[in-house]
């Protein structure tokens, strides 16, 4: 059969989302016109990390101008089910109220909500809610949480550990005990925040006539939110519609259904009025966190620098409550799963846990645990190289998966099918003049008073996981691994496709349209992608974990192919030609080399709907539509080498990145513009995680970085020019040859920047193991205080 021609797939097609965004005509949640009677919320939040609520007096707030209602935890509990999460075997389930009732367990936990005629008046009245607290001792760090005899965050649990997963390739312990060299260290990171430029928000409306909830929200995973709201409000899922309008970034943070969404829905049901809430930036920074880790990593080597075994004992501080319903283990699971990276590691073991503390609950953030995994392995590998007196690039070469090793099933059972580790490495070294720079400048103080350093990191980015892998990681069955696409060619010959994946800026409306236009032979202008409305979209897993191109692309491809087959069958009947000879292109079904054998897709559509002059061929059903799901049989691995040259000012500790090169391989690139955008944007966030960002707390658990002047994301002046080069090792796992790309930039940038800093500081310290690395840290290093 004739293969469809690739006109759009692989081409730098300009984004179809852009014009409305550029003209100021896109609708984000706060742009949606409020229906008549909309009321607005503001939340009174705990100022303490841990306290008993002695009393709440809402009378003054209730009497304030424009206030319609003031509700407390008890009122909310009366209208909803609490969120219940599993804990360790044999322990009671962990219950979270949607608003605190007797006890608050983190700063920012809600204790009351004001409903008012507008947002200004709601905020005014919040000041009048009087809450009397009795402050209690708080547990903040991982060490505190695990200390024997430490206070318990939830008294009915035996301790603060709420998730634990262990795994060992048989023989790993023995390999460690017999190995000639073992390198180990503790790696840690302070909390980060995703800081999407748009904060969270919702406009929710409960129809008391039909008992249905219509919840417009900044949801990253609309189907997951639908289920969680339905469960909380005890409604059938079909009675809850979640719609995400344009969403201004998420990076994992909006995957979570926070309690405010539930509170809004409860109030709308209670009052019978639409309810709106837009989170402010201070709430965003105080509440939306991720990546507080402590990894104890060991690596065993032979005398030639071959890695024999790896072990990771990791603990994640997830805050006061697990936010991912049915699992507190998303980050810990990642810490277990991603340690092998691009290396040939046969023996591997992990023991990963999550602990609860009196900090805000965490969501997942771009790359989840992978940046930390890569930082640990790259650091220990370089340290081993130094001990053995072998060049660290050479040690990488000896351990990277070679073409001859492929396919290679790694120690957690996931195959690397195609890869280009050595090619990426070589190209990155050449592009940064690595050897020359290392010999002449790295680690040396320049005449300008700056130490220069060059660093590289080799990574494999796990992505596009299917259901089997999600299950093996103990993830929620409500976050399965497949995605869906529903495509319909309308009677006018134009196609619409509903995908199960929402977009927060990734360009789904462009990329999926490219695939469909090629498969159906339509001009891309005749293909429209819709997403983010649970009433229309097929069920699926959703956009996260660099899986949209793989799982969504697979579903779109399958559904397109079914429709293409039907187009060919009808065309074959109309033209009296064999369907196998028919090519779909340029809006026509035609037999190449036979100019008389051509029919417009529009005419085929008319025939399919029996509104043209011809009848449908015998046995064909009316219409042109297909729903397909694609469940990747396993995961994919993209790979890359990042190379960084930087300067550290010896007087200020200020870091300037002077050159940044990425050589990347994500298989078939559907749209090179979008791929580069994902990589460069990801690198910028990785640079931030090392050099500029950290969520800081005082000893009472008070978050200190709750403005964008305190929590400093990288600016135009912090992110250098980033050169991106590509190698395309097409995936054999999925039909489109795709691999994911959303997280790889961040995963590579964190270790690469730290390796370059280690190289610059080589005469002062063995290695930097705690993130972030701020100018003060580097001044301490240079003054021998570390």
């Amino acid at each position: 059969m004739a293969e469809p021609r690739s006109i759009y797939v692989g081409a730098p097609v300009f984004r179809r989302e852009d014009s409305r965004l550029l003209l100021g005509r896109a609708t984000f949640i706060d742009d949606v016109p409020e229906p008549f009677g909309t009321v607005f919320l503001a939340f009174a939040r705990s100022p303490h990390a841990h306290a008993r609520i002695k009393s709440i007096d809402t009378s003054a707030a209730m009497a304030a101008r424009g206030v319609i209602a003031v509700l407390t935890g008890a009122d909310i509990a009366a209208g909803t089910k609490p969120i219940v999460s599993p804990t360790l075997k044999g322990e009671p389930q962990l219950v979270r109220q949607n608003m605190a009732i007797e006890e608050v367990r983190h700063v920012g936990e809600t204790v009351a909500v004001v409903v008012a005629e507008n947002a200004y008046l709601a905020e005014d009245a919040i000041e009048l809610v009087e809450v009397e607290y009795e402050q209690l001792p708080c547990v903040l760090s991982i060490a505190d949480a695990l200390a024997p005899g430490s206070a318990r965050v939830h008294e009915y649990l035996a301790g603060n550990r709420v998730f634990n997963l262990k795994y060992e390739v048989p023989g790993t312990a023995e390999v460690f005990s017999r190995a000639q060299h073992v390198m180990s260290d503790r790696f840690s990171s302070e909390r980060l925040s995703g800081v999407a430029m748009e904060t969270r928000g919702f406009l929710t409306s409960f129809d008391r006539g039909t008992n249905k909830l219509r919840h417009m929200s900044t949801a990253q995973l609309p189907h997951k939110m639908r289920w969680e709201l339905a469960d909380a409000l005890q409604l059938p899922e079909m009675s809850v519609q979640v719609i995400a309008p344009h969403v201004g970034g998420s990076f994992g943070m909006k995957t979570v259904t926070f309690p405010e969404d539930v509170v809004g829905a409860v109030i709308s049901r209670k009052l019978g009025r639409p309810v709106k809430w837009i989170q402010d930036r201070q709430e965003d920074l105080a509440l939306m966190h991720a990546r507080e880790y402590r990894f104890d990593v060991e690596m065993a080597f032979d005398a030639d620098g071959h890695i024999l075994a790896v072990r990771n004992t990791a603990v994640v501080n997830i805050g006061a409550y697990p936010l991912w319903i049915a699992t507190a283990g998303i980050e810990a699971g990642g810490a277990g799963h991603h340690m092998m990276g691009p290396y040939r590691i046969k023996h591997y073991a992990y023991d990963v846990s999550s602990v609860v503390t009196h900090k805000a609950p965490v969501a997942s953030y771009r790359g989840v645990a992978s940046p930390m995994c890569a930082l640990s392995t790259e650091t220990l590998l370089e340290r081993m190289a130094a001990r053995l007196g072998i060049d660290s690039v050479e040690v990488r070469r000896r351990n990277l998966l070679r073409p001859a090793d492929l396919p290679f099933v790694n120690a957690v059972g996931i195959p690397h099918d195609t890869a280009s580790h050595l090619e990426c490495l070589d190209k990155a070294l050449a592009l940064t003049d690595y050897e020359q720079f290392k010999r002449t400048r790295s680690g040396k103080l320049g005449a300008d008073g700056k130490y220069r350093g060059i660093g590289i990191a080799c990574i494999a980015d796990h992505n596009g996981q299917g259901t089997s892998i999600a299950r093996s990681r103990g993830q929620s069955s409500r976050w399965p691994g497949y995605d869906g696409a529903f495509i319909r060619i309308e009677p006018d010959g134009k196609a619409v496709c509903h995908v199960s994946l929402a977009s927060q800026g990734q360009g789904h409306q462009t990329v999926f349209a490219q695939i469909i236009a090629d498969e159906l032979g339509l001009p891309i202008e005749d293909v429209t992608i819709e997403h983010s409305d649970t009433a229309m979209m097929p069920f699926g897993t959703g956009t996260a974990a660099a899986r949209a191109a793989v799982a969504g692309g697979g579903a779109v491809l399958k559904a397109s192919q079914r429709i293409a087959a039907k187009l060919r069958r009808i065309a074959s009947y109309l033209m009296e030609a064999s369907p196998d000879d028919i090519v779909l292109a340029n809006g026509k079904a035609a037999v190449p080399g036979a100019p008389e054998l051509s029919v417009d897709i529009r005419q085929i559509a008319a025939t399919a709907y029996v509104i043209g002059p011809q009848n449908l061929p015998q046995g064909e059903t009316i219409g042109l539509e297909a729903t397909e799901f694609y469940d990747p049989p396993t995961s994919s691995y993209s790979n890359a080498t990042h190379a960084v040259q930087l300067a550290v000012d010896s007087k200020t500790g200020q870091v300037t990145i002077e050159k940044y090169v990425v050589v990347h391989d994500c298989g078939k690139r559907l749209n090179p513009l979008i791929v580069d955008g994902q990589i460069i944007g990801g690198v910028a966030q990785g640079i931030g995680s090392v050099l500029t960002e950290a969520m800081r707390f005082n000893e009472e658990g008070q978050p200190l970085t709750t403005t964008l002047l305190d929590y400093t994301v990288p600016t135009f002046l912090d992110v250098p020019r980033i050169e991106v080069h590509h190698i395309e090792s097409v995936s054999t796992i999925n039909p489109g040859g795709m691999k994911g790309v959303g997280e790889a930039g961040t995963i590579g940038a964190v270790p690469a920047v730290v390796m370059a800093l280690n190289a610059a500081m080589v005469q002062f310290s063995s290695a930097l193991t705690a993130l972030p690395v701020w100018p003060g840290t580097l001044m301490d290093v240079m003054h021998g205080k570390q």
Partner: protein, 169 residues
């Protein structure tokens, strides 16, 4: 001041005369977005740190989240909705699209407004000048590089066009 006190203001918004009764404590951003319903201007932080809400006030970029609507009485205001031309997108808008200088697009209106001000002050900026001028506008998606390229390309486009016009006249 009483929280419900209002004042009457008159100004020009995107070339059109507007008079409005506005609560005295209303931020300019809220007035523009929720009273005029020009929702292209976005609020990213409401404390003057991210630049998403930047508008042009008498031709100069200001953060509409840190001034009151009543302060702009008698002024000329331009928002992202006023940037496009009748025949389509402005050179900056076109180049943002061509260079993939936006992903989620939330910061984009503020970027376009600041870049408009930049190009009117420095018609032929270097990369360094672009980065310094734009440093008060935060973007979390793009890594800034495509925005720098887009602004540079728009400058070329505008300069090229004005040269062409000079030649033909």
């Amino acid at each position: 001041m009483n929280s419900n006190e209002t004042m009457r203001i008159a100004l020009t918004v995107n070339g059109q005369r507007v008079t409005a009764e506005v609560p005295a404590r209303y931020l300019l951003a809220d007035f523009v977005r929720h009273q005029l319903r020009l929702t292209g201007t976005h609020v990213g932080c409401a404390h003057g740190a991210c630049g998403a809400c930047t508008v042009l006030l008498d031709g100069r970029p200001v953060r509409s989240c840190t001034i009151f609507a009543v302060q702009v009485d008698g002024s000329e205001l331009q928002t992202v909705e006023g940037l496009c031309r009748e025949d389509g997108m402005s050179p900056l808008q076109e180049q943002f699209r061509t260079n993939h200088a936006l992903q989620c697009g939330y910061c984009t209106p503020g970027m376009l407004i600041s870049a408009t001000a930049l190009l009117s002050e420095i018609p032929d900026p270097s990369e360094e000048q672009i980065r310094r001028y734009m440093a008060g506008n935060l973007c979390r998606c793009t890594g800034y590089q495509p925005i720098v390229l887009a602004i540079r390309a728009a400058a070329d486009m505008i300069n090229g066009r004005s040269e062409a016009r000079e030649r033909s006249s």
